[in-house]
Subunit: 335 residues, 2 copies
């Protein structure tokens, strides 16, 4: 029996409760971010504003803010650290743009397309340096260690991903290591920081694991969306991963289950990047045929419920409930 088609599942997860809880904090984070990218150098100002101010959901800084609330943190350090987390993320986006030549991100043209490769690399470096300056300003070596370790793992993950390009025979294990590194580790660090600044050492591990699991779920769904998103709704263009020969779980699953002829299709389109009109639709059809999209979503949901379990030690409350919403949101984006 075939897996149910994506559109058959209906599920919603709203982040409204989350954003209501962190509204004021997030405004402060945004103000700090904008203040930091104010620059006497027009190019820095323009690109940084473009990438930072274009918003997105600010999901990573939101994790720091709500984790701090969950740990009953009283203070202001979460603002700066949330901003540092977002800066690390946006620096990665800019460097990823150089690499991936994505056409759309957050519904706007990529910085790369507007400003060029050079500027994307260098302004990415600028944003990363802002993150470190903010952390140094915070003054906690523990927070610095968490974020510099995250930064190191992210760069490793990005390189590992580059090495799997064009190789549909990549193992699922290898793929999971890539997305844990390039995506989930920053989610984990963002959550862990909430416990660190609260001084609740015993909660660090739970929050870190929560972050890892939702990060993996988030990326799995992101990889599905690159084939199956509704561009008008998500403002994310479909097909970038395919056109770049990027190997994601839907590809790996379809490849593994494929006939010899299908394997040759994947080799031609992804390894040799010889793509012609209709190939993307064919790729999507092969994924649907083998249930690769649905299996990927199922795996995301499994990570999502692992994440929920990590919060079991926390007493019920608004902050916990908002964090569970984030976990649900990470998988519900597909529907």
């Amino acid at each position: 029996m075939n897996q149910p088609a994506v559109s058959e599942k209906v599920k919603t997860a709203s982040l409204d409760a989350l954003y209501a809880l962190i509204h004021n904090d997030l405004k402060k984070v945004d103000a700090l971010i904008l203040d930091r990218v104010k620059s006497e150098i027009p190019l820095i100002h323009d690109i940084a504003r473009h990438i930072v101010a274009s918003g997105g959901k600010r999901i990573r800084p939101a994790l720091t803010l709500i984790s701090a609330q969950l740990c009953e943190y009283q203070g202001q350090r979460h603002i700066a650290l949330a901003a540092a987390v977002e800066f690390i993320h946006t620096a990665t986006l800019l460097h990823d743009d150089v690499v991936d030549e994505s056409k759309l991100r957050r519904g706007l043209a990529t910085a790369n397309e507007l400003f060029g490769n050079k500027a994307s690399v260098l302004v990415g470096d600028f944003l990363l340096s802002q993150a470190f300056q903010i952390m140094v300003g915070d003054g906690s070596l523990k927070a610095l260690k968490i974020l510099s370790d995250a930064s190191a793992v992210i760069s490793k993950g990005e390189v590992m991903q580059l090495m799997t390009e064009g190789q549909p025979e990549t193992t699922i294990e290898n793929y999971l290591q890539v997305i844990s590194s390039k995506t989930a580790v920053l989610f984990a660090a963002a959550c862990e920081l909430g416990a660190v600044i609260s001084g609740h050492d015993t909660l660090e591990e739970d929050l870190r694991e929560f972050g890892i699991y939702i990060g993996i779920a988030f990326q799995l769904v992101d990889d599905v969306l690159d084939y199956a998103a509704d561009e008008k709704v998500l403002g994310k263009s479909v097909g970038d991963d395919f056109h770049e020969g990027k190997i994601t779980l839907p590809v790996i699953l379809a490849y593994n289950a494929g006939t010899r002829e299908e394997k040759a299709f994947w080799a031609r389109t992804l390894s040799e990047l010889e793509q012609k009109p209709g190939d993307f639709e064919e790729a999507l059809a092969l994924m649907q045929k083998h249930g690769a999209i649905a299996q990927t979503i199922t795996m995301a949901e499994r990570y999502c419920s692992k994440a929920r379990q990590c919060l079991s030690a926390f007493p019920p409350g608004k902050a916990k409930s908002a964090m569970l919403d984030i976990a649900d949101f990470c998988t519900s984006r597909v529907y």
Copy 2:
């Protein structure tokens, strides 16, 4: 009267005494660097080894090591911090390669040419993250502040440089700000760290200023070498800056002194990047005609002697003498 031609001046500066003094320390720095770039990920290992192990003069870490000696530092922290300085430098090199498409660096093919743009960006990020992990391991917030501030200024300098590309009407002041930021600030930080770890707060400013001045001198000479180097001796290819439309002091001086016809030549070759065979030779001839190369070297020598003055408070000795050798070396490379 014309300025004397470069070749008429004969001057030598040897770094032999310096390297004899820091020999053991530099071996430890190299071992730490190589240990850090050991990676289970072949691409990281290959590129990092390529860029790091290809050596160069290790002038920046050498500055940290010899500054520490000058401040009579007893301990091992200078090793790690010198490695962090070198990692920041090599990360910049890799990101600069993406940008500049230089053909030769240190006599070897650039990493970019061997491994591609993507890999250069991402492995550069990896090297930068190693720098921050090392600094966090050192545990001094003061050292972290110095190097994260340096990193922020470097990225600004790189962006400023990008913005002057193709604009020979760039002011000398603007150019000096670019090279102070992109080059001299890391020289300054490298020197300052020697005082910081020694606990000699009063010496920090002198060493920092020394670093700024030799950094500016070093870059001025580097910009001369891009037009007038002997490729066989320095393993540095000539003409990269010209081919990329990069604006350096020799260009600015020749442009400012140029006739209307000459200004049109610079506009065509550097602003519009319409270059044909013989243009590079013509550019060099115009520089010689207006004494632009000699004036640039003179300016470098002026910064070099400012640097020497910064050390006047230090008692004579081997370490001081080796640092003065570095100052001389920064300008004597041209001859």
